[in-house]
């Protein structure tokens, strides 16, 4: 399980890097899907099968499909690839790299203070549901109202 965890984590990091440097947008999306799936595996090894499957269904299965759908609608070709290559200069990376390094330092600082162990408890579907409809029911309701608003506005836009 530990090996699987580190393997999936490494794949997630590598494929996320590949998303950034890839000039072909379809390939970049494929790497993003791969990254999300490996994050799902990480969740699974950490003892959260429900979160893992939801990651695969919602992110990799639904949201990325919509991304790909939009890319199909746009006319991507050789010229977009050249444009991407023009943007990918070392100078562009400086500011994001500094910010990401700061974040990483903060994260390492926090994580060094927490004592954690791999695969301690398995959080199944029942536990997640009990939490969602118990202490966090207000958050769930608020999220559903947000989604309803999105639905209504999408309907309004489509009607026009």
């Amino acid at each position: 399980m530990t090996t699987l965890f580190y393997l999936a984590g490494a794949i997630a990091i590598l494929s996320t890097c590949a998303v950034i440097v890839q000039t072909n947008i379809v390939h970049a999306l494929l790497y993003l899907i791969l990254s999300l799936l490996s994050v799902a595996v990480v969740f699974y090894t950490l003892g959260a099968p429900f979160a893992a499957v939801l990651e695969a269904i919602v992110y990799a299965g639904a949201i990325m499909v919509l991304f790909l759908f939009v890319i199909m609608m746009l006319n991507m070709g050789q010229h977009t690839r050249q444009q991407e290559r023009g943007w990918l200069t070392a100078r562009v990376f400086i500011a994001p790299a500094i910010m990401a390094a700061l974040l990483l330092a903060q994260l390492l600082n926090v994580m060094s203070q927490v004592d954690y162990e791999l695969g301690l408890t398995r959080v199944g579907v029942l536990e997640v549901s009990a939490l969602l409809f118990g202490p966090y029911v207000l958050a769930v309701e608020l999220a559903s109202i947000l989604l309803l608003a999105g639905l209504v506005s999408a309907y309004h836009l489509a009607k026009k």
Binding site: L30, V53, A56, M73
Partner: protein, 317 residues
């Protein structure tokens, strides 16, 4: 040597049998379709034409494996592999018999749904990387269709999950000891059936590959074994949906004891495979907007209502 869940022998047997069944379906479907259309079908190669599959395979393996020069090579090659991998992985959670299966997973139903949603990539990438307008149209249709019908597929399953109280397919089968779930969940069964046809994009919902409108849809540019993988992948999807219906609504391996459980499972799944072929023989293809409005305006409210009533009944008893 005894068969048990997760042993190497069982996994190998399941993989082999599933792929052979999917390949044989090429012949079964052509034969059944022709009977329903008052024809004879392929009957020249071997007894009853049984060796037609072998002939087809030899032909498809020896064809030129052609990648069009304008295609995006990476996505073009992995697209047919995705559908095979994803559907074969889904078979891992199907309980074929008390002692036959690959894993006994607590998230079986969700795993199948996740794999089904990943299956959409195969169709989309195949069409997008072909750089062909008909392929693109086909994959646009496929994307919208599969994403929409996944929703109804998931919601129609939830009634069964609520009744059995588990996402584990094995527990779901055992919960049907007294009564098959098709009786309390008939509406869910019908919605799952329709969504299953749409999800495996077979006729009458083969809008992504409608020959009369858009050539062959997303696999217009495919030939040889890459096309063969799409082709066998479609039949694998058919077997998967039939097995799922059997497991979720028709008591899986349950049946009178004079036959072994696996035979009961195979018989029930076979009936549904034949039913899907009958659907193909009888029902014409709807228009694309009809498919979409039928899904969102009829199936979605119906499945939500079904879930609501199921919940009320469970809570009140």
């Amino acid at each position: 040597m005894a068969l048990e869940i997760g042993s190497g022998l069982t996994i190998g047997l399941i993989l082999g049998v599933v792929i052979v069944v999917a390949a044989m379906l090429i012949w079964v479907e052509r034969r059944l379709l022709s009977f329903w259309q008052e024809r004879l079908g392929p009957n020249r190669v071997g007894p009853f034409g049984l060796l037609q599959v072998v002939a087809d395979m030899i032909k498809i393996f020896t064809k030129e494996d052609w990648v069009p020069p304008f295609a995006d090579r990476l996505s073009f090659v992995i697209a047919p592999a995705i559908i095979m991998i994803v559907i074969l992985l889904s078979f891992a959670v199907i309980p074929f018999a008390p002692n036959i299966g690959v894993v006994d997973s607590n998230i079986g139903v969700l795993f199948v749904l996740a794999m089904a949603s990943l299956g959409a990539y195969s169709v989309m990438l195949g069409g997008l990387s072909s750089d062909n307008k008909y392929a693109l149209l086909g994959s646009l249709r496929a994307a919208a269709q599969m994403v929409s019908y996944e929703v109804f597929m998931g919601i129609s399953l939830l009634g069964v999950v609520a009744l059995s109280g588990s996402f584990n397919l094995r527990t779901i089968v055992e919960a049907q000891e007294g009564m098959w779930f098709v009786i309390p969940q008939f509406v869910g069964f019908v919605i799952f059936l329709i969504a299953g046809v749409a999800e495996s994009h077979r006729l009458p919902f083969d809008i992504p590959e409608a020959e009369q409108e858009i050539c062959a849809g997303y696999h217009t540019e495919y030939s040889g074994m890459k096309f063969g993988m799409f082709f066998v992948g479609e039949y694998l999807g058919l077997v998967l949906v039939s097995s799922l219906i059997t497991v979720l609504f028709f008591g899986g391996w349950m049946g009178p004891a004079f036959l072994p459980p696996i035979i009961w499972f195979a018989a029930k799944a076979g009936v549904f495979i034949a039913f899907f072929i009958l659907l193909r023989a009888a029902i014409p293809r709807p228009r694309y907007d009809q498919l979409m409005s039928y899904g969102w305006l009829f199936l979605l409210p119906l499945s939500l209502l079904n879930l609501l009533i199921t919940g009320v009944v469970i809570l009140s008893t």
